[in-house]
Subunit: 509 residues, 2 copies
């Protein structure tokens, strides 16, 4: 990727160009559901108690430049990643080893494991598991050697509630639309062109994954009609992202689904003697549905479990015959500790799950080195690296827990660890910083256009449906997400940390 | 239509049923662009200066009951109406007679006519005219004879800026979606069923009409690329309605279009020596387009012409070689005076334009008797009818001008006319009131659900493209609109006069 291209992209806009572009973004987005419910800071609940207002989802107005070879590699290896994580989720013994290292320091992991053991005691009754995964990457350019090709490095692997599959399809269509109406200045025509813009089929593909599980569940055993259950947070500002999957599930696959707030699980569902999960919609108490598939868009964060009863809800759902997306073990397979042990230099684990060497080496190439903060050999390397700001400057410290948002970066690491009791250190992993290419873009958020340096994360969706015994029923790549946020350095530009949905404009690197 | 059905429809909802229905209406509508920009009373401009917020368009949450035979007749005769109004628009001499009666009392009609004469003097250079029409009806039940079948009676015929074709397609899809997810109580399944809900293809069909004109214009004479120009009001809260046509025009027909605020016409368009209309988008001053078709979504109301320069703009557009939707004469053909002379009892005019007796009699059957307030024989009948509140009680007095909203109803007519100088009477027509069946529905507007008695207006869209010489190039029915508003009688219910978009649930009458 020529750096002059990076420097001049996106182009400066005249005020007329900006007005035309923004008017089209604002109207197209609402006309096509590229939307969110407004934040309380934008529209207070007293102003709109019924919640009818919506606004354009935070969106880049240009597609971001992305290395074509990295993009293609990310999509190409998704099936291997699906295979890898489904194999991990089937390997209870191995996972037990991981969990045991975390159980004293991470209550959430401990509770998930206890819930698994409780279900296991009664006996699992569903051999199928569904994963709607998303593998997140950044492009890495070696800072000490600018002439090497950029590579794709994994940030994290999501095994539960992988979001933005609904909006991602819409934002890539938005950018294509903007191109088709010449909303991009003519100076960009050699860059933003039809064959460089990648359309994401994520909404359709993820719905197809849910439909595959629904079908694999088989016919109704209760005589009641079948449905998929979206277990959701309430309220949910990102509801349209989820609704697009629901609509694709119904319109493209003919499969009914319902949204059930996680907190209302025990009120509206029951388990019969045969552990079928029966859902009675509050709006039609005389009609009961048999749930084929539980799609968790809640329950992934400790915040979803403020009361003990919430763990009862999770246990109740997990005991059932419904296919879980994901199962408890699949959920646990997504914890960062797993990523860390796979990516620890000289780790033997990857081979265990991906016996094909060629496949394993392609996956391995996407790992950034990760170190545990424990007493192992690799842990000792980590302790050296974090001893002073200079040596820590190419690393990031991440909590093992899911959810993100509490990373400690580079030179701040040593002082952070100093204040943390050493017994808590193993709750974190140390990861080599990925050094993304310098990129710029402009993000429309709450009507404000913010320009500046950005960091892009490519998420590749994957669908995998497998049986406990090892048979993989479905395995396919399911579109992509580009999520773009302000970089750390740019003052007064795009707000660091707040993401926007984006799409890829591929460039040869 | 059994009256017990009317009385029990729509059904009462439990609070759970209502919650489910509303949650689905609110999310589906935004996900599919069934939306408007919020009114300033809901979201002030200082709160959202960039205009990114949107809200669900005022929508009925149930499809309204509508007589199947009336619905089918309305759609069936649209081609005859297209033929009728295209014939009127081609008959300048006849229209001149109409205009002459209005010219002293209606400045707007006078200005339109003067503009026509000014263009004519230079010579019209485009023989094609496009009409995107909408014929509006209500179902009429004879109050003195309840056993007769309901009939369709025309309220008005729109020849310019026929709106809601974009949202109408969406609301019929919304009601179908609500049915498919069992959002309607099971007590309604014998009424709200798939084969009773009529999907409106208006967005697609109207776009197809614009595309037909665009194609019929022929190849570019200037060497510049071709486009359609939407001449619009600014700001426009109902922008998504128009955008849906624009998107269908581009995606289904491959035709580029631009939105141009009417007030900016002279700034951004020029006429070349050959009277080609050239549009230079402000966002790309180096790129010029040749306009094939001018689609007016502005210019239909005197309010659009606050300054003399606005009439210069209209003249400038009308002089051009672009196909107008509609032409000046077509615009004039839509004035209520035309409807009145056609619908005056024993009028000879209909035959003039629809020589086929069978076709003419079907159209005639949809006219409610209309009387002029002048010195003619029919005018004398009108004067008698408006002499006292009792005799006036089955009539409505309507201004001849386009735009609506200033009607005087029933017993209020005599005192209104008493205060009006008799020289101004001919600016009004007297029309027999259409007596719609008693209907109820619930309208979601600004997050509030308003229940009560409603009046439904069926609008049938028609596309007609013709040549001055009489050849009709395209003529088709183009979907429908059901617009529903609160009736006058219901206190505390649906606000009278404010319309919502709706769709038809057909019932046998």
């Amino acid at each position: 990727m020529a750096s002059s291209l990076h420097e001049n992209y996106p182009p400066e806009l005249t005020s007329e160009e900006e007005q035309y572009l923004l008017a089209n973004v604002k109207d197209w987005s609402i006309a096509h559901g590229l939307a969110v419910r407004p934040a309380p800071s934008f529209v207070g609940p007293s102003q709109d108690p019924a919640g009818v207002l919506a606004t354009t989802a935070p969106t880049t107005i240009f597609p971001s430049l992305f290395s074509r070879s990295c993009f293609e590699e990310g999509l190409a290896i998704q099936k291997a990643y699906n295979e890898l994580y489904s194999a991990i989720a089937r390997d209870e013994e191995w996972l037990k080893g991981i969990v045991e290292e975390l159980i004293d320091i991470d209550d959430f992991v401990a509770k998930l494991w206890q819930t698994h053991l409780a279900v296991k005691k009664e006996g699992y009754v569903q051999e199928l598991s569904l994963g709607l995964f998303r593998s997140d990457y950044m492009v890495h350019t070696d800072p000490s050697n600018a002439s090497t090709s950029p590579g794709l490095k994994q940030v994290e692997f999501n095994t539960i509630a992988s979001s933005f599959g609904g909006l991602s399809s819409q934002v890539s269509a938005l950018h294509r639309h903007l191109l088709s109406i010449d909303a991009y200045p003519s100076s960009t025509t050699s860059v933003i062109k039809a064959d460089a813009l990648r359309q994401s089929k994520s909404a359709s593909s993820l719905a197809q994954g849910l439909a595959a599980a629904h079908k694999a569940y088989g016919t109704s055993r209760s005589g009641h009609p079948l449905c998929v259950l979206f277990v959701v947070q309430d309220p949910e500002r990102n509801v349209f992202d989820q609704r697009h999957l629901e609509y694709a599930l119904l319109e493209e696959n003919g499969v009914r689904s319902f949204r059930l707030p996680f907190q209302q699980t025990l009120t509206h569902t029951t388990l019969d003697a045969d552990k079928k999960l029966l859902y009675t919609p509050p709006n039609s108490p005389s009609k009961t549905y048999e749930v084929t598939t539980i799609y968790y868009r809640a329950g992934y964060s400790p915040d979803d479990y403020p009361n003990a009863e919430d763990w009862d809800s999770r246990l109740h759902l997990e005991k059932s015959r419904a296919i879980k997306c994901p199962s408890l073990l699949t959920h646990l397979a997504g914890c960062k500790k797993v990523q860390q042990v796979l990516a620890t230099p000289h780790s033997p684990h990857l081979k265990r799950f991906l016996p094909n060497d060629e496949v394993a080496s392609r996956v391995l190439a996407t790992f950034a080195p990760i170190y545990p903060l424990d007493q192992s050999e690799a842990g000792k390397v980590a302790q050296k690296l974090t001893q002073n700001p200079e040596s820590a400057s190419r690393y990031v410290l991440k909590p093992q827990r899911e959810g993100g948002g509490n990373n400690i970066y580079r030179r701040a690491i040593p002082s952070f660890l100093e204040k943390l009791p050493e017994t808590h250190w193993p709750a974190y992993i140390l990861m080599e910083m990925i050094e993304p290419p310098p990129l710029k873009n402009a993000i429309l958020r709450n009507g404000e256009l913010q320009r500046g340096g950005v960091i892009c994360e490519l998420g590749v969706y994957g669908v995998c449906l497998w049986k406990e015994g090892g048979e993989i029923v479905e395995n396919f790549e399911a579109g992509y997400l580009l999520r773009t946020k302000g970089d750390q350095s740019e003052e007064g530009g795009v707000a660091a940390g707040f993401g926007a949905v984006d799409s890829c404009c591929l460039v040869d690197s």
